[in-house]
């Protein structure tokens, strides 16, 4: 259940950044990028964000989770494809040892503030 500590980190991060933005009434939207191999359950994260945002500037924010996919490259036939697990095999020739890139992202892309 590390999603709760991640949700709290997201709320803290946006709160900290929003204080640098002047007279902020509230935060209405937060865009979070989550890679499919980041080890994060999106449903859980959404649930935790709602709880973590309570009584903060983000209380009414709409959390937009943007899922991103890892990319694999086959060591044998060099095909490129989206990868759904760390145990990927090439979807073209079936070879193992696929080189995986990306999919580990877990970042706040942007947020929308409502200024007074």
């Amino acid at each position: 259940m590390h999603e709760m500590s991640l949700a709290m980190s997201i709320v803290d991060l946006v709160m900290e950044q929003s204080t640098r933005e002047g007279e902020v009434d509230r935060v209405s939207e937060v865009e979070v990028e989550v890679g499919n191999l980041a080890g994060v359950l999106i449903d859980s994260l959404e649930f935790c964000l709602e709880a973590a945002a309570r009584s903060t500037l983000l209380e009414e924010a709409n959390f937009k989770i943007i899922p991103t996919m890892a990319q694999g490259e086959c060591p044998s036939c060099r095909a490129s494809f989206e990868v759904a697990s760390l145990y990927a095999v090439c979807c073209h020739c079936g070879a193992a040892g696929v080189t995986i890139s990306g999919g580990q992202e877990l970042k706040v892309r942007s947020f929308v503030i409502e200024e007074k």
Binding site: M1, H2, S5, L6, S9, I10, D12, L13, V14, Q17, S18, E21, D25, R26, S28, V32, L37, A38, G39, S85, L86, Y87, A96, G97, L106, K107, V108, R109, S110, F111, V112, I113, E114, E115, K116
Partner: protein
């Protein structure tokens, strides 16, 4: 004019609302702030500071991870018993509750701090930073950080360690690396523990290694029994090599 009862009132001059229903905000204007910051950035920053401190004192910090009951604490007790006096050692114990593991380590005569995470499922950089202040960490020592028994969450949180050492015991399934690939990918060394029990079990060591290597071709393995002492010498050699 009210269109229900001709009372002459206008909707805008009177606001009727139920508690908890949508309320109106005073007029504001929206602005998007681009951030592109890693959610774990703060933890990674603290972990980097821990790592720099360890490097400045020549301390080898190891993050010991596994599922509960794989024998991490027993491995530590045996390791301390065998290496005490040769290399300065210290331990940070992580558990949700109790001082039990810290008491076991304290009985070996070395310095130990217990971090109780409460409901938390992993240690993080800040907890290690705070725990470090409770320890007298010697130059060129080894700091063992025994993480909360959990093969999921600790994979994500950098503590500033030099390496993650994952332990799997032969009383578990050999398919653990397939079930929890993130941890086996993040680890540098895998200790396969309780090998004294192998004659009584059908744990396939080769299959376990194969599953783990599929997600982490660089992963090193040492087969040990913290009870009989078998293989422990190889583990100590690994530690000594890393200490230099």
């Amino acid at each position: 004019m009210c269109d229900s009862c001709d009372c002459g009132s206008h909707g805008e001059s009177v606001i009727i609302s139920k508690p908890g229903a949508d309320h109106k905000h005073s007029p504001t204007h929206s602005r998007t702030v681009q951030l592109e910051i890693d959610v774990l950035a703060k933890n990674n920053e603290i972990a980097a500071r821990n790592r720099a401190f360890f490097a400045s004192k020549g301390i080898l910090a190891l993050n010991l991870v596994s599922s509960p009951g794989s024998g991490k604490t027993t491995i530590l007790e045996r390791t301390i018993g065998d290496l005490k006096g040769q290399i300065p050692l210290a331990v940070i114990e992580g558990d949700q509750q109790t001082l039990r593991d810290a008491e076991r380590i304290e009985a070996t005569g070395i310095e130990v701090v217990q971090v109780n995470t409460g409901t938390g499922c992993h240690l993080d950089g800040e907890m290690i930073h705070r725990a470090m202040h409770q320890l007298t960490l010697e130059q060129d020592s080894i700091l063992f950080i025994e993480n909360v028994g959990n093969l999921v969450c600790p994979a994500l949180f950098d503590l500033g360690e030099a390496a993650k050492v994952v332990t799997i015991s032969v009383t578990e399934g050999e398919d653990k690396p397939q079930k929890y690939p993130h941890m086996f990918r993040a680890a540098t060394l895998c200790l396969i523990n309780k090998i004294d029990l192998l004659p009584h079990l059908d744990f396939d060591v080769a299959a376990c290694r194969g599953f783990a290597r599929q997600v982490n071709p660089e992963l090193e393995f040492i087969e040990v029994s913290a009870t009989s002492g078998e293989g422990m010498g190889q583990w100590y050699d690994w530690l000594r090599t890393r200490c230099i």
